[in-house]
Amino acid sequence: MLFPKRFRKRIMARLNPVTEEECTTMRSESVWQHLDVRVAIFVLAVIILGAIFAPWVAPYDPDTQNFRNRNKPPSLEHLCGTDYFGRDVLSRVIFGARVSLAIGFLATAFAMLIGVTLGVSAGYLGGTIETIVMRFVDVMMAIPMVITGLLMVAALGSGFQTLIVAIGISMTPRLIRLARAPVLVIKQREYIQAARALGLPKRIIIFSHIVPQVIPPLIVIATLQVCHAIVIEASISFLGLGIQPPMSSWGGLLKDGLRNLPSAPWISLTAGVVLTLTVIVLNILGDALRDSLDPRLRGRLRAQ
């Protein structure tokens, strides 16, 4: 022993100050015990339940106009004020949550469906199909997602269903890439070779041997993608090409609010805060989900 113990400890701390932290990371502590994750689950539950039970939760009808109550600031009667037509802002935000969340989740599901199918097929089949799909993905990735969304809305028309498809399509290229990468590794494994040697059709190998392996990590990514979908929906509606009035969505409310920003800032503020809060809690949950599935990645960030 070169140094006495007390010196050695001090020197080690100087040389490698991260050891202590590594120990805390290694301790088997569930991410679900973290305070921020619990708060996030609670907030998300409130938002989702509020959206589902909107007709009972909302204090007023979101479309009833009251011209005596135009642009009223927040009060006990109208907690978040009223808009230009005297409609209750809080009620509109609650009903808007239905549209925004539904589009967020459904568009992600749509993108997952197409992305996983194309990505896994490209990865497993290889050859010309892979080249075509992946070059197409490269090209689509060069167009900003919001712009792809706008283009698709222009192509399909604006409305609830078309927005789901439009946003889903704009998210698909990224999911194809993410779904293909693990397949390249999985297809080298012995059990896949065994399945091939048994003469199973490609379709069965892909859907019952490969897809189940790819899905769990993609579920995590999907949680984070829901944020993107919600933000893109809000962006498109904010630009006036998405959900059309009088139907309310968070993006549409932000747009209405911007028009009356100096006289009625509470419209934009309420919608924006709720939108941001939703995205934040989904981000926290996505990170937590990923950490709990893959502890090696704990503390590290996703590449995208």
């Binding site: 040389l15 090209v139 060069a142 919001v146 712009i147 933000v231 962006s235 630009l239 941001t276 503390g299």
Partner: protein, 313 residues
Amino acid sequence: MTKYILLRLVYLFLTAFAVLTIVFFTLRVLPGDPVYTVLGAEAPPDVVAQTRAELGFDRPLYEQFAIYLSGFLQGDLGTSLQSKRPVTEMIGLMLPHTILLAVAGIVIGLILGVPLGVMAAVKRNGLFDSISRIIGVSFIATPPFFVAILLLLVLGFWVGAFPIIGAGEWNQPVDILHALVLPAFALGIPKAAHMMRFTRSYMLEVLNEDYIRTARAKGLREQVIVFTHALKNALIPVVTILGNQLGQVIGGAVLVETVFTRPGMGRLVVEAIAGRDFPVVQGTIVVFSFFVAASNMIVDLTYGFIDPRVRYR
């Protein structure tokens, strides 16, 4: 190196061409008829037919595409259906504003984000780290256009320190910069949160490496270790991510422009899509994708400067 750059340039133009093809045919599948955009909804049928022939919309699709493509190769992106002006001229007027905004946003993101990330990594688990983590988590998720609305409301309307509309005239640089502050910060603050988190996590990784331990054992000063030894290596992935996010920055710029009623590509593309102005939509999206692809290329090339180990083949 030269060969690599040439190859990337060829790839760049192939991307632009492919985007053009996709956008061209996506637009042609639309149910809406652009001829009515030009004439209004109540135009008599014979006038509609005549205009359609004049604009070339009666030809087969592949012929329309060939005509458009030959124009594209000569630097002609067609003529707007609504304003009747050449699309290249419209883009030429708008593009500088958007590039200025996007670059300013990225610069702010880097200037704010990287140093904060380094500080958070060095003083990890300290008070600063916790505060910056909370701020980071909040701003990373905030859509830039909501940050824009907040800045517009507080600093534009309430404090009144910055213009709330427009981008200023090019011959008045002070006005341009003054009008740029709020939009650039709106774009830059969420980006800074991103950069901060990335810088922090990569710095932590690098600070764990053996050569940092060696540097410490040599008794180098902490500043030298952090900035010359660690940061240089931590910046490589940060720069990659920055390049990959340029698409997001441009997408954000489109919305921020709308909030501040700035002239720019954002307004151009939104109005063109709403008005079914095909040539303008095609032109703007091709230019967008060209910039995203070009910036990815530049990022790949900058590796060589940041990391001398990287060699191009």
